[in-house]
């Protein structure tokens, strides 16, 4: 297990190196110059050259890249061209906002998704099951930014019971959480239902019944633990996309999270911030994948890693 984890961490480093290289190359190939954006079109060539020199953009690419890597290894991505703050600081601020909202979204979607998924599986074929399927299909079909706007109109504008923007109080978390979480909860519910039904039809469930195990324990222990792998996989993907931030919903609720930071950095050609964001996303993906793989082993002994292989 430890050997496997170390091996995976080494692979992670290679992946991150690749990501940084590709990002760097793409940013230099892509048209658009940060200095041009910064100074608009008013500046003369002399000023532009001076600023480029100050920012180190006139150095050879290889040198620039090596400098970038040197900093990145210790978490220093330089200062943002536009915000004049360290990129790591900007990322940390945005991350704390995205993560605190993300935690609620995650909690919301897992609790409701699994609750309704299990209920639908147990109620299979009844009107309760059909109702849950209907609403989960609806939940998956509605784009989250649209839900966000509708919720703002209903709860903010008409009922005036919930704030419609920012993240200042507990109550201001409710609308963004619901608008982001609904689609995830619906997906988890459907996934959970399918896998629970599959597990509950297996021979070992009949064995459990023949032992006199109660229906509740059959569902919550024998069923759920077997159905958990695909659900965990999905939750892993979910965490990755939540931690990447949601551009649309963050914009609708005016939340300065990672999604918004990233899009702003791209429109402004803020190369250092873009690099920081890309590396951040890559790190989140790689670590999340590693954790998911390790959790698999805990859940299903048959894929326990590093034992024989």
């Amino acid at each position: 297990m430890i050997k496997y984890t170390i091996k995976r961490l080494l692979q992670t480093l290679i992946v991150l190196f690749g990501v940084s290289l590709i990002t760097f190359i793409m940013l230099n190939i892509a048209p658009g110059d940060p200095v041009g954006v910064m100074l608009a079109k008013r500046a003369d060539q002399e000023t532009i050259d001076r600023v480029r020199h100050e920012m180190g953009l006139d150095k050879p690419y290889v040198e620039q890249y090596i400098e970038f890597i040197k900093g990145a290894v210790v978490g220093d991505f330089g200062d943002s061209y536009f915000q004049h703050r360290p990129v790591s600081e900007i990322l940390a601020d945005a991350f704390s906002i995205t993560a605190s909202l993300g935690l609620w979204v995650l909690l919301f979607s897992i609790v409701f998704g699994i609750l309704f998924g299990i209920s639908a599986a147990v109620l299979r074929g009844t009107w309760g099951d059909k109702l849950i399927i209907f609403f989960s299909t609806l939940g998956m079909a509605m784009p989250s930014f649209w839900i966000a706007i509708i919720l703002q109109i209903i709860f903010g504008l008409h009922l005036k019971i919930l704030p419609i923007s920012g993240l200042y109080s507990m109550s201001s978390y409710i609308l963004p959480t619901v608008s982001l979480g609904l689609i995830y909860a619906a997906s988890i519910a459907r996934l959970c239902r399918t896998n629970m039904l599959d597990a509950l039809n297996q021979d070992y469930v009949r064995t459990a019944r023949s032992k006199g195990v109660s229906e509740f324990k059959i569902v919550m222990q024998h069923g759920l633990k077997n159905a958990a792998i695909p659900i965990i996989t999905y939750i892993g993907i979910l965490i990755k996309s939540i931690l990447g931030g949601s551009v649309l919903v963050e914009t609708v609720f005016a939340i300065p999270g990672l999604g918004k930071t990233m899009v702003d950095s791209i429109t402004q050609r803020d190369i250092r911030l873009i690099q920081g964001c890309t590396i951040y996303i890559a790190v989140v993906f790689v670590i999340a994948n590693l954790i998911i793989d390790l959790v698999y082993g805990l859940l299903d002994p048959r894929i326990r890693v590093g034992q024989e292989a």
Partner: protein, 331 residues
């Protein structure tokens, strides 16, 4: 002959499917004495497994439903018990082992956990005591180094070992009745013999009554005292192993006997019973076996035969053994 443990009376289980009602089990009656072993033999789809599942009330519903009859365990009708009462009977008084040891154990729990689960439900024991008992049970069913094996997962064991674990689970609460549904069908021949030996040994040591469901007459001959031959959801013949093997009465039983290859005897082809088991939703008129029976006559094609009690304790469902048949043959 001891006292009666199980009495199945006129048990009928039907499946209500889109294609119509399937008469999986139709008016089946039999008794089982304490400590006795009974074999239930039949082809696929003859209602053997449904019999077992009906006794412990695990027929999947819908579409299945026990429509009539009684299942008396020690004189207590199981079909009128509540769900909670049935949970206490399953695993504690009646246990069951299944055909597929590869899938009958839950892959995500250790075998020890799965044995302990049953112990903790039915007995007032601490986890530690339950674990010790689980190890004891594994030793009883002949698993080497049970102290280590108790923490194994099912995928770390072979099919034969898993079936031993299933038997350990079934026996851990010392049930009065052990129902084995094709316990050896999925196993290698050598492992089959070991498992049958184990079932026989346990029956002798613990005095557990056994119902052994199989399509293999050879298996029955090794383990049981009495045999029921089932066909299309009905009991066709009942008798001791000796009676059935030396003197099969029903043409179906006789045909089954002929289909067993004999070692050392040169034959061109194996004897098979022509035709197929009838669809249980569209049953033929008269005797259910008549389309495949060499001796069938007009009577068999029109009148459904009753189960006849013969003086020597045997039962057979065939017109051959009634007065009507004799009348006809005198014509």
């Amino acid at each position: 002959m001891g006292e009666k443990l199980l009495e199945v009376k006129n048990l009928s289980t039907y499946f209500y499917t889109d294609e119509g009602v399937v008469y999986a089990l139709d008016d089946v009656s039999f008794d089982l004495d304490r400590g006795e072993a009974l074999g239930i033999v039949g082809e696929s789809g003859s209602g053997k497994s449904v019999t077992a599942l009906s006794i412990i009330r695990l027929v999947q519903s819908p579409p299945g439903k026990i429509v009539a009859g009684e299942v008396l365990l020690d004189g207590d009708n199981l079909l009128t018990k509540s769900k909670a009462e049935m949970r206490h009977i399953r695993g504690e008084k009646i246990s069951m082992i299944f055909q597929e040891p590869m899938t009958a154990l839950n892959p995500v729990f250790t075998v020890g956990h799965q044995i302990m689960e049953s112990i903790l439900i039915h007995q007032h024991k601490t986890k530690k005591e339950a674990r010790e008992q689980a190890i004891e049970m594994l030793r009883l069913v002949g698993i080497p180094a049970p102290e280590k094996r108790v923490d194994d997962y099912p995928h770390q064991m072979s099919g034969g070992m898993r079936q031993r674990v299933m038997i350990a689970i079934a026996l851990c609460c010392n049930p009065q009745l052990l129902i084995c549904d094709e316990p050896t069908t999925a196993l290698d021949v050598t492992i089959q013999a070991q498992i049958l030996e184990l079932i026989r040994d346990i029956r002798e040591r613990l005095g557990t009554s056994v119902i052994l469901i199989t399509h293999d007459l050879g298996v029955v001959a090794q383990v049981t005292d009495k045999v029921i031959i089932m066909y299309a959801g009905k009991v066709m013949e009942y008798g001791t192993v000796r009676q059935i093997f030396t003197d099969p009465l029903h043409p179906y039983t006789a045909a089954l006997m002929r289909s067993i290859p004999v070692i050392g005897k040169q034959t061109e082809r194996l004897n098979v019973i022509r035709g197929m088991v009838p669809s249980l939703s569209k049953r033929p008129d008269g005797c259910l076996f008549h389309p495949r029976c060499d001796e069938a006559c007009e009577l068999c094609r029109t009148v459904r035969p009753d189960l006849i009690n013969l003086p020597d304790g045997r039962q057979v469902r065939c017109h051959k053994y009634t007065d009507k048949w004799e009348e006809k043959s005198h014509d």
